[in-house]
């Protein structure tokens, strides 16, 4: 049996923290960067006498996500208690949704790998549910203590559960990127893996050749970067494949990814306890989401990345560039604004993904606050296209315009970037150069064609690089022909 005979079957559980001002069930502020334990209230700490009340904004954000992913939104859904004892969970249970989630089904269309973006695959969703987050444990290496910060406890989360439709580590990462893009376009979450506002668990199993049955699955917990997600899935596929090839069985387990050893290993923590003792949450009534609310939120949905990509491709932009532009909503908005103020789409795209992104690498300002406004891209391209400035000068004009916040046309006028296209002036310069270049002329007429470059260079020098090179070549040909020694 060959190694490739086993096919990986992967499903992801993605937690996404909603960017509301307050927590899921209490009016306590969500402030992840605040000093530890300064964004807490009586409910967060599970003090007696407190009761949960759902945050309307969190519910609306969650519904927007469901609509964007094509889920069916349940008119009535329910809350459940999931019990476990852990220091980050003061109440001893988490309010979540179990048997009756608010969103069912749905689908994510995942673009293909780089260069093959148009080859999308479909990953179906099982469900999305809402829940509250737990606090954050800080493990101190070599010390007998763990420290607990409850600022995050009670923060609103959605958990997006996919069907086992993913077939590779690479596809899993693309799926997650796609989800991140969508929530960012919706504006409902920062969705930042490093900051923990986007988190991922991966269920991995291997399908035996010729079998329709899924293998025993193992769950890798707490994958907090795209890179780790891919590495962990690859490591887990290797582990399971090795076991199967050795004739052993896969035992269902919860795993963690050890980055130093590049392997997955079984966790010995609370997640091993399968018995969460779910029960209906007695403190929360049924969650009613009315059709008119759903209709209003559907109206508010922005144009999503997949639709934008399709629109850009229809304008002649390559799928690869379209993927870069839609990679962040701000970039796509900038592109749209540049398109709206006129200019050829492909050229705008080239400047945006080239010079502008490069300039922005050393800039922490958001695109919307750049002094270089979208309309200036079109203006700059217009200046090149009508021959006012050369392509080379345009890069300098861009750099100055970006740095100083002055529009390209004004930079061109101020710093003399205007291309010299005055035929008379160029002819005069050329004549002067040729008059003093006896040696070079002799070489040229002696058959050394490449000496033309010398003459062009002299003209460029005399015009400080502003002569239109095409015109210079034309005039040079004429002048050289006119001065050619008469044939005997």
């Amino acid at each position: 049996m060959t190694v490739d005979a086993y096919s990986p079957v992967i499903g992801l559980e993605v937690h996404c923290q909603l960017n509301t001002a307050t927590k899921m069930f209490s009016p306590c502020e969500v402030a992840l960067l605040a000093e530890p334990n300064t964004a807490i209230d009586a409910y967060t700490l599970g003090l007696p006498g407190t009761l949960p009340v759902a945050n309307a904004a969190a519910v609306e954000s969650a519904v927007k996500l469901a609509l964007a992913l094509g889920c069916e939104v349940a008119g009535e859904s329910r809350w459940a208690r999931k019990h476990y004892f852990y220091p980050d969970l003061p109440k001893g249970y988490q309010i979540t949704q179990s048997d009756h989630p608010y969103a069912i089904g749905g689908e994510v269309l995942v673009p293909g790998p780089r260069g093959r973006e148009a080859e999308t695959t479909s990953v179906r969703l099982t469900r999305i549910h809402m829940e509250e987050d737990a606090g954050k444990n800080i493990h101190l290496p070599g010390e007998p203590w763990s420290l607990v910060d409850y600022n995050r406890a009670g923060a609103p989360l959605v958990e997006i559960v996919s069907e086992p439709d993913i077939r590779s580590a690479d596809e899993a990462a693309r799926y997650l990127r796609c989800l991140r893009e969508i929530v960012r376009y919706l504006g409902i979450s920062q969705a930042n893996m490093e900051e923990g506002t986007l988190r991922c668990d991966a269920n991995v199993s291997l399908k035996q050749p010729g079998s329709d049955r899924l293998g025993t699955r193992c769950e890798i917990k707490n994958l907090n970067s795209f890179r780790f997600l891919e590495l962990a899935i690859r490591a887990e596929i290797r582990r399971q494949r090795d076991l199967l090839q050795a004739g052993q069985k896969i035992v269902s387990a919860t795993l963690t990814y050890d980055v130093d050893r590049d392997r997955t290993r079984v966790m010995r923590t609370k997640e091993q306890a399968a018995d969460y003792r779910y029960m209906p949450e007695p403190d929360m009534p049924v969650l009613v989401i009315r059709p008119e609310v759903v209709a209003r939120l559907r109206e508010q949905l922005p144009e999503l990345p997949a639709a934008r990509r399709a629109r850009y491709i229809a304008l002649g932009i390559s799928p690869q560039d379209a993927a870069v532009i839609t990679g962040e909503p701000e970039l796509s908005d900038y592109f749209d604004a540049a398109l709206a103020s006129g200019g050829p789409p492909q050229k705008i795209c080239n400047w945006l993904t080239g010079e502008l992104l490069a300039a922005r690498n050393n800039d922490t300002r958001p695109l919307s606050q750049l002094p270089f406004v979208p309309a200036w891209l079109g203006q700059l391209i217009g200046l090149i296209d009508d021959g006012t400035i050369s392509g080379r000068a345009a890069k300098e004009v861009f750099a100055k315009s970006y740095a100083e916040g002055i529009e390209p046309a004004a930079i061109v006028a101020r710093d003399g970037y205007r291309q010299v296209r005055d035929t008379g002036a160029l002819e005069a310069i050329l004549a002067e150069i040729l008059d003093r270049s006896h040696k070079q002329l002799a070489q040229y007429y002696g058959g050394r064609q490449q000496i033309r470059g010398y003459f062009v260079g002299q003209v460029m020098k005399a015009t400080r690089g502003q002569a239109d090179p095409k015109l210079v070549q034309e005039l040079l040909s004429k002048a050289l022909a006119a001065r050619a020694p008469a044939a005997d």
């Binding site: 220091p87 203590w145 607990v148």
Partner: protein
């Protein structure tokens, strides 16, 4: 009904983070067996045609996303057994692999 076995009793105790002496385990196994027997009696009732119980109270309207009062840290952590650097210190959670 058979008495709850020792392993199940231990599992439940573990989930509740209780450590039981053998004598306590005997007592609780007996009590839990009684409770389970009662539950199975309830389960035996045919409720096919009984409508689901719904609270007559209207659903609580959701809350606007407006911050309310919070707890001052010193006060909030006053009840914790150990506090370090503004955080609750608990016996180490992660076991070393």
């Amino acid at each position: 009904m058979a008495k709850l076995d020792a392993d199940s009793c231990d599992l439940l105790a573990h989930l509740a983070r209780l450590s039981l002496t053998p004598a306590e385990r005997e007592v609780f196994a007996g009590q839990l067996t009684d409770i389970l027997a009662y539950m199975s009696k309830l389960k035996a009732v045919d409720i096919t045609d009984v409508p689901e119980f719904r609270s007559p109270a209207p659903p609580t309207p959701p809350r606007a996303d407006k911050p309310g009062p919070m707890l001052e840290r010193a006060r909030a952590l006053a009840g914790a057994a150990h506090v370090r650097e503004g955080q609750v210190a608990v016996p180490k959670i992660l076991e070393d692999a």
